[in-house]
């Protein structure tokens, strides 16, 4: 047909069906480009919003590699005349990107030390063999650890502990399927809740701190963030345990033999090695660096100092870091932050913020509650479709331009980006537990919607009753 071979047509159709979102994006962007700019929006702002739409569709659809999306954002910022090439390059690299890069590298270094067996022993010693206590231990330890070292690191360390307990209970999947879900979701949701605790819990916290500082709205130190966010984390732990327990109530209320077998396995590893002690010491030093030195050095540089020390002391090899670091994600977050800054500078963020306030003004009358609701709900929904850091990078400038208290709205949005409970793609921790093959996509909704509502309610109470006391 038309002179093309069947093979060519078949390949072409396959490309079209697999890349339909790319074609859709191209058509939508052309339409948006030729629509006249609204009178209240600058032409640069209009074009910035077109890039936002393109980026969101391509990221959610995952039709082209993430680094390609990042490169496209940077190219379009220059071609659309939004900024000069040097201006785009400057907005691309920031301390937040250094931090994301450093924390991903730290994750590889920490996981490779084999500390997970000690962690398992510690949890089991604390909790004993009752299932509900083990679940509490999993949620609490995952949450506390991920508040400092990044959620996917903790999930990677905790996953084998949970799977070993499941395997030790029974090899028959039908017997242990509810127990497996309970333990795995304890890890995933514990990590998600914990990632709000400190700025180093997640790249998006650092992105938000960076925006607040860059836009001249205030400075949030490491300790100040902890004062705001940690009480919420503590409140959420028991509530999450209750929700998970009643959603995935297992037949096994005591894991006596499974725990005993795990103890035997773990104690075989012997005493802590010098390298493991050094690895912990370096991480503690990094933590103190974040607390005391970040106002001067920045969170990213402190994280990179940690990476430098791990490499210099031979605790990790560069090839391992290189293999296990997601460079594409780092480039994408850099581009997303650049786009966020352009949204602020071109007035696009303010225009969208006003549009949202006008649109939802008829639904929620109280202005402060309206600002809060838009910030939290939009972020919470988008984070379940997109990466949480990308969500904050794109929505951050809009939220900070809505009016009201930018610190409260900014931290609220950053915390809401951790409500990634509803889908597999919501966060790496959700994907990690899914890769075990023991949880299905509809399991995320079973417990996720309850946790989503609980987290929204707790955040509302904490931000309205506790945070005003801090300022």
């Amino acid at each position: 047909m038309l002179g093309f071979s069947h093979n060519f047509l078949s390949n072409f159709l396959f490309w079209v069906t697999r890349k339909r979102w790319l074609i859709f994006t191209f058509v939508i962007s052309l339409l948006l480009f030729y629509i006249p700019s609204p009178t209240t929006l600058t032409p640069e702002g209009h074009r910035t919003l077109i890039i936002v739409v393109i980026a969101l569709i391509l990221i959610i659809g995952e039709v082209i590699p993430l680094p390609a999306v990042a490169i496209l954002i940077l190219i379009l910022e220059v071609i659309f005349g939004i900024d000069t090439p040097n201006g785009v390059a400057e907005s691309f690299m920031s301390d937040a990107v250094f931090f994301i890069m450093g924390s991903l590298m730290l994750a590889v270094a920490i996981v490779s030390q084999g500390l997970d067996k000690r962690l398992a022993l510690g949890i089991i010693r604390m909790t004993g063999n009752k299932t509900w206590r083990i679940v509490f231990g999993f949620v609490a330890i995952s949450a506390i650890l991920s508040s400092f070292i990044g959620e996917h690191t903790v999930a990677a360390m905790m996953l084998p502990v949970a799977l070993t307990l499941v395997r030790n209970t029974s090899e028959d999947k039908a017997v242990v399927h509810t127990l497996a879900k309970l333990l795995l979701f304890s890890i995933a949701y514990g990590c998600a809740m914990g990632s709000i605790g400190t700025p180093s819990g997640g790249g998006r916290n650092v992105i938000m701190i960076g925006y607040i500082s860059e836009f001249g709205l205030g400075n949030i130190s490491y300790l100040k963030w902890i004062k705001y966010a940690y009480p919420m984390l503590i409140l959420e732990i028991p509530l999450a345990v209750i929700i998970l327990w009643f959603t995935f109530r297992p037949e096994q209320t005591i894991l006596d033999s499974a725990v005993r077998k795990l103890k035997i396995d773990v104690t075989k590893t012997g005493k802590m090695t010098g390298n493991q002690i050094l690895a912990i010491a370096i991480f503690i030093a990094v933590f103190f660096g974040w607390v005391f030195l970040s106002p001067v050095l920045g969170l990213g540089i402190v994280a990179l100092i940690g990476v430098f020390l791990y490499l210099s002391f031979g605790l990790i090899e560069w090839k391992d870091i290189n293999r296990n670091t997601n460079w594409g994600v780092i480039i994408l977050f850099g581009a997303a932050i650049s786009l966020g800054i352009q949204m602020k500078e071109t007035g696009a963020a303010e225009w969208v913020a006003n549009l949202a306030i006008t649109g939802l003004g008829s639904v929620v009358q109280n202005v402060d509650v309206l600002h809060w609701f838009i910030s939290v709900f939009l972020t919470g929904v988008l984070t379940n479709l997109l990466s949480n850091a990308a969500t904050v990078a794109v929505l951050g400038p809009i939220i900070l331009d809505m009016g009201g208290n930018p610190i409260i709205l900014g931290i609220s949005a950053s915390i809401a980006s951790a409500f990634a409970y509803l889908t597999i793609v919501a966060s790496p921790t959700c994907m990690i537990i899914h890769s075990s093959g023991l949880v299905k996509s509809n399991d995320y909704l079973k417990a996720g919607w309850k946790l989503f509502i609980m987290s929204m309610a707790v955040l509302f109470l904490v931000s309205n009753l506790y945070w005003p006391l801090l300022s």
Binding site: M1, H6, N7, L9, S10, L13, F14, T17, R18, E62, P65, L66, L104, A107, V108, V111, G114, D116, H152, T153, A155, A156, M157, L159, P160, L163, T164, R167, N324, T325, N326, G328, V329, S387, I424, V425, S427, P428, T429, M431, I432, H434, S435, S436, G437
Partner: protein
């Protein structure tokens, strides 16, 4: 010949593996068994790989390894592996990572030169297409899917013959239904059908369908050729010339106790994409295994 058998789980893939291996044995074909795990979000690849490496330290298997281990056991128990391969057992250490989303192990087979086990991650059609293109498989064997677009995508995009093992009852008494017309693929379909019928000792019905009572001369010739070929091959058969709607006739005759063998459509890919094809309709609507033979 090379066969690719796609399996999904221990619970549901047993009929696919059982029938697939029997057909492969009939063709004396090299077999590769592939498990395709779900696609990993691009944001999570490094986290998932980190977790998988950590699982290995705990001697825990990543998703899919248990399914391959089960497939290995099935092959060993049913005499498809050489004594040497069987004796070595399924060793996860022999799975070689060939690229980011693919690892493989090759074993020595009894009836064929080799049996490969492959673990892949990603979109199933993309992964099967890559595998077929890379190693030039002749037939891809897969279980039926509830996903509506699966049948369409298999026929449209996989560049090999497709055998969909639908509603296969291992203890059932099957016959063969050969759909014969004057299309160039029919001869190859009949030859494939004969191999299967000989291996399973199936009574065969060769059906030629015309929408009117007048049969084209070429169709009559094709039917006569099929009859002659089947008889020469020692297959007990009957020849039927039916008029009416193709799908209704084929699904009525096939019921749930036939293995249907037919040639792929000769329509252009664009026409198939927009208007579908007879093999696609058969694959969607019939309640029995279907082999679509491509040129």
């Amino acid at each position: 010949m090379k066969f690719l058998i796609a399996i999904g789980s221990k619970e549901y893939s047993e009929p696919t593996l059982r029938l697939g291996m029997r057909v492969a044995k009939a063709f004396n074909a090299a077999v590769t068994i592939v498990y395709v795990g779900e696609k990993i979000s691009a944001f999570s690849t490094s986290g998932v790989h980190l977790a998988q490496e950590n699982l290995e330290n705990w001697e825990l298997d990543r998703q899919g390894v248990d399914v391959l281990a089960w497939a290995f056991k099935y092959l060993a128990d049913n005499g498809y592996l050489s004594t040497e391969s069987e004796g070595e057992g399924f060793n996860i250490g022999k799975l070689v990572q060939t690229d980011e989303d693919r690892c493989e192990v090759f074993l020595e087979g009894n009836h064929t030169q080799e049996v490969g086990l492959i673990l892949r991650n990603g979109d199933i059609i993309q992964q099967l297409r890559d595998e077929v293109n890379k190693r030039a498989f002749d037939i891809t064997i897969i279980g039926a899917s509830k996903k509506r677009s699966m049948a369409h995508d298999l026929i449209q995009y996989i560049d090999s013959s497709i055998f969909v093992v639908k509603n296969y009852q291992p203890d059932g008494q099957y016959k063969m239904l050969l759909a014969v017309n004057d299309a160039p693929n029919t001869r190859k379909a009949v030859k494939y059908g004969v191999r299967v019928a000989q291996a399973f000792d199936l009574y065969t019905t060769a059906v030629t369908v015309s929408s009117t009572t007048d049969f084209r001369e070429n169709c009559k010739k094709a039917s006569a050729w099929a009859d002659k070929f089947l008889r020469r091959s020692g297959i007990e058969n009957e020849i039927r010339l039916e008029h009416g709607r193709f799908m209704e006739i084929i699904s009525t005759i096939a019921g749930d106790n036939h293995i249907i063998v037919m040639g792929s459509s000769t329509k252009s890919p664009l026409a198939k994409f927009f208007t579908g094809s007879k093999p696609l309709k058969v694959m969607k609507h019939c309640k029995c295994p279907v082999l679509i033979v491509k040129e």
